[in-house]
Symmetry: C2
Subunit: 139 residues, 2 copies
Amino acid sequence: MSETRWLSACEQEVWRAFISAADALSEQLARQLQRDSGMPYTYYEILVALSEAPDRTLRMSDLAGARGSSRSRLSHAVARLEEVGWVRRRTCPTDKRGSFAMLTDKGYAALEAAAPGHVTEVREKLFDVLTPEQVEHDQ
Amino acid sequence: MSETRWLSACEQEVWRAFISAADALSEQLARQLQRDSGMPYTYYEILVALSEAPDRTLRMSDLAGARGSSRSRLSHAVARLEEVGWVRRRTCPTDKRGSFAMLTDKGYAALEAAAPGHVTEVREKLFDVLTPEQVEHDQ
DNA sequence: CCTACTTGATTGAGAGTTCAACTAGTACAC
DNA sequence: GTGTACTAGTTGAACTCTCAATCAAGTAGG
């Protein structure tokens, strides 16, 4: 146990500004999605990942791995998404423990409907408040 | 309804990198606090805000306003914090609708115990991976 | 073969958040 | 003063997330 390296006043300021800005941003985006499209941000991410996969299908573990999500979280989420008919599960024929999640047409439609509002929000809340130099710098 | 201004491939990359980094960071910090001190990050923020207030006391609405928290969330949170004895409520004598939240000695002790681990995590996961120039730039 | 270990995924309980009521007290106008 | 609107805060239900436990299926080692 070494001594704690406390933050200087300046570091604390940077830190608090950063975390509160980041939190505020992701909260606003989550709220917009929930309000306008009835889905949490994490579900949107799942739909996006599936929509970009071949056959709109991914193994559960790959889907969990892609986002930093736990298996358990994903399992609950996909269960919910299956309830609303946006995703369907299939068991893997070669490894019977495994499970595929597949985006349904209905799910794809839901994603298509949600995307414009979300992208617009990302623009307004992130890119429109950054200068092009800042974007370049972040890259 | 105007046309959606979609993100360019480059913008999308910046955006995804940003959001996943920010999420990963705040998740790690939240996990560390929960694991080592048994409190969620939002509760830690409440304790910090109270600890910095005169008499370690704040009106509920001020406490909610300081962080971007909803009244409801704060109400539930303070109820929980009262259960574990870290915070006590007092009604406001001049406005009987109002309510004060006050950090108890036990709550202050819990905060003191949690702080070193949290600050160390902030250092390791944020400042140690940034160059001083980057910190300066962010400021 | 058969036990032991690992892996893919699910389940359930407990906790925090949100949204929409709802209570109670204050302010302001007529 | 009395009705109306607003403000402070709480409550309950629905939902998501986490953690630990569990199950089922594959993989080794003897």
